[in-house]
């Protein structure tokens, strides 16, 4: 029986149990004449939870465990020398066995019956092909019985699973139903289930973090075993060399500082563009604009967040960068008579500005929502004292909305740090260390992507450094976030 049907049955059992519980719950009230602790709907949900949760958990476990067990079993049954003889690895041999299994299952009943353990594989292959299953030519006679065995195992396992799961569902429903009585705190139990679900949801963030750290840890360790951490963290030159090209095995220099400086600098310029524009736009939409303007302007601005960054990148490259360059040439021409550009076509300024445009909606939309939800009584209080709207906004509403706005800003800053394409096209990839915003710099993220997708040997420090950069960036932003949390805590204002 297919998994979806099993799930359907479980759902049905739960639904029936839930319905019965619902009726029982209503009955209770009539019988006892006193109000039960929980409403019938909670009795229903209670039974539903009992029917669904254990059985579906079991189903999931089974679905994961059964193929693994099957695989172990089949692999153990491999004739050892035969595998080696055929020049296959265990993995490949198992892959073929699996696809033979698939082939067998896709045959119609009567044709399948003709194949048994002794059928030579050559005879079976054309059949499989006829039914659209291409099987490797490296398949061997001994694989067929294993495939049959594997198929049997999975069939049996499936039936067993079906029965057990459905029993679990029914049992759960029954148990839940029997528990129903006036004093049963069904609501609390159901809410506990909800609560656990919520906890599980929030733990995904933790698991993601763990996953990220682990998926980069080994490579980073590998990197640090080849390049000294001191040089990496405090080096001021970024100049990895090709390990092969005549550099005498030199790997070049991996100084983090120029990248870090570039990241912070470009991010800061981007924030300097996005925050004022976004915040003022949000304030205008929330406090001044009529509803029509707002309902048009807001989604329009949100489109800015969805334009692929490559578009921004080319916009910077083709339009903004040359514009700044020519502008600077004009300015210096007017001032000094020497028409040479002091802004490079690729510069921190260009990247920051263009990225800032992309980030506008992150500030504007989120802040707008938060400002809108500040209760009107606060506005009235301030306006009633004779404050102008702008004074009200600046002195009452923004402070009240501050925690939310800070969250929005943090999110914006985070995006600024994580952006690649715009920086590549607008500020370039040269890792300079400068304080001149008119020159090119680059960011950590750019280098992560670049080192990871280049032509460099993948075992070399040049590639591995991407992982080290990833972890480092992770830790740096972590510190910044801890600091931000501390600041927000300090200035929190709670209304009402």
């Amino acid at each position: 029986m297919s998994t979806s049907i099993i799930i359907l049955i479980v759902l049905l059992v739960g639904a029936v149990g839930g319905y019965a519980a619902y009726q029982r719950g209503r009955q209770l009230r009539i019988e006892r004449g006193m109000r039960p602790h929980s409403r019938p709907i909670y009795h229903a949900s209670y039974v539903l939870s009992w029917a669904w949760v254990p059985s579906l958990l079991l189903l999931g476990t089974w679905l994961i465990a059964s193929p693994i067990l099957n695989e172990i079993q089949i692999r153990n049954a491999f004739p050892e020398d035969a595998v080696a003889e055929a020049g296959l690895t265990d993995d490949l041999a198992y892959g073929i066995v699996e696809s033979i299994g698939v082939g067998l299952r896709s045959l119609p009943e009567d044709e399948r019956d003709q194949i048994d353990e002794d059928t030579p594989i050559e005879d079976a292959l054309p059949l499989f092909r006829q039914y659209g299953v291409a099987i490797a030519s490296a398949s061997q006679d001994w694989m067929l019985p294993l495939a049959i065995e594997s198929n049997i195992w999975s069939t049996v396992s499936r039936w067993a699973m079906t029965i057990v799961v459905v029993l679990f569902a029914a049992g759960g429903a029954f148990y839940g139903y029997r528990n129903i009585r006036t004093r049963l705190r069904a609501r609390n139990k159901v809410e506990k289930v909800v609560n656990v679900t919520l906890i599980v949801a929030s733990s995904i963030a933790i698991m993601t973090t763990v996953g990220i750290v682990f998926s980069m840890l080994f490579e980073s360790a590998d990197f640090f075993s080849r390049v000294s951490a001191w040089e990496f963290f405090f080096g001021t030159t970024w100049e990895p060399r090709f390990s092969a090209a005549g550099s005498g095995g030199e790997t070049g220099q991996f100084g983090l500082i120029p990248l870090l400086a570039g990241t912070l600098y470009i991010g800061a310029v981007a924030m300097a563009v996005a925050v004022p524009i976004g915040l003022f736009a949000a304030i205008y939409m929330a406090e001044y604009a009529d509803n029509r303007t707002r309902s048009v302007a807001k989604p329009l601005l949100e489109v800015l967040a969805g334009i692929p960054t490559i578009v921004y990148g080319f916009f910077a490259l083709v339009t903004v960068g040359p514009f700044f360059r020519d502008l600077s040439a004009q300015i210096s021409g007017l001032l000094t008579g020497n028409y040479s550009a002091f802004i490079q076509a690729q510069s921190v300024l260009t990247a920051g500005c263009v990225m800032g445009i992309m980030l506008i909606p992150f500030v504007s939309s989120l802040s707008d929502d938060i400002i809108t939800s500040v209760p009107r009584s606060l506005r009235d209080g301030s306006l009633g004292l004779g404050a102008t709207r702008s004074e009200t906004v600046k002195r009452v509403i923004l402070p009240a909305a501050l925690p939310g706005i800070v969250s929005a800003l943090l999110l914006t800053a985070s995006r600024a740090i994580g952006e690649t394409m715009i920086v590549v096209l607008a500020a370039g990839v040269a890792a300079n260390l400068t304080i001149n915003p008119f020159e090119a710099m680059t960011t950590i993220t750019v280098k992560i992507v670049q080192q990871l997708t280049g032509d460099l040997e993948f075992t070399s420090p040049q590639t591995l450094v991407a992982f080290a950069l990833g972890i480092t960036l992770f830790v740096i932003t972590l510190c910044l976030n801890v600091y931000a949390l501390y600041i927000v805590r300090k200035y929190k204002e709670q209304y009402e």
Binding site: N195, I212, Y284, V374, R376, T388, E391, V393, S407, L411
Partner: protein, 440 residues
Amino acid sequence: MTDATANDISDRSEATRGRRDIGIKRRYAAERRFKAYGMIAIGLGIAFLFILLWSVVSKGYTAFWQTEIRVPITFSEEVIGTAEEGAANQSKLMMANYPQLARDGLIQLLEIDPENSEAVSAANGLVSQGVRMELRDMVLNDLQVIGTTEDVWLYASSDLDSALKGSYDLSVEESRRPISDLQLEFIERLEEMGALEQNFNWGLFTFGASSRAETAGVGVAIIGSAYMMLIVLALALPIGVAASIYLEEFAPKNRFTDLIEVNINNLAAVPSIVFGILGLAVFINWFGLPRSAALVGGLVLTLMTLPTIIIATRAALRAVPPSIRWAALGLGASKTQTVFQHVLPLAAPGILTGTIIGLAQALGETAPLLLIGMVAFVADYPETPLDAATALPVQIYMWANEAERAFQERTSGAIMILLGFLALMNLTAIFLRRRFERRW
């Protein structure tokens, strides 16, 4: 007392003199400035948007038209074999030399000497290499066409198409452009005959990836993106909202929840490609999910979008005044009921914003897909989320890197399609926001 007249009052308007100075002029100036800043900010934002849109649309609108040539095709039995043979042996039909049919048709149409190999290859360069598929499908659909002659609209080659659309500088010497003088002459002749037409380019929406611009489309990418967006929406929204509710409403305020909070904020700052690394390590290498699959892409984007949704949702939840919670709790609503029935609806606009921004970001993201094999040439339509697929931004990225001119307009065309998707999402959001927004 109400009989006091207005005159009475105006007589004493002197009293208004010598009023206290509360810096009204200055404050009003500040007010006007402030308001102007707001308008400027919105104006700037929208202006940027339109500049960007303009830069895309002006380059890309031509992608929605495709030149076709009407060629009389003789489905000659010599070339493709008889209908009976074809019915018996499909593979012969499949492998037949269909381009020759097109070539012969062109020779006939343009009245070229078949011996003049230069002219023949010039003529041949006018139609797409995709004719093989186009004609083969015709034959396979209906074996009866074999042996007949029919006028067929064939896709013009991308060089012809681009030349007609003016993307090539035709003033440069012949050897420096992909379209020769002879071909230009042919084009003129075809136009005179009315055998050249520009039609709406449905193929752009339906074709999969192709190395030939004229048969390249975002079909596979749209499917891939749609799968991924559905997965992201189905996972990230509920998980994100659930996590936010827990953290904001239920979680005890302690070190551990601080840790989660910082953690989530931090995840937002993780470069998207790192999520690709994670996806590769966890979903592909560990769970053994297939490469290039929309499912994996969706999962990776889900993880990437979660922080955005959580941060927005938490901010929205926090902004709901506590008196609403007290009111519900005081009536004997449980915490869960309070949150789900009162707080959440009031926070809905904020949640929606987070979702839209998160989805928009996910819809436009390429980098994380790079490592899980979705930046790929995929010609076949995916049937399930487990099949190989690409995504719209990926297709854009790949086309942007193509050398051929025809791909450049298609890049912009694909961006327009992506923005269309985005607009659709935003419209939904506007509609939902209207329903939820409430000031009190």
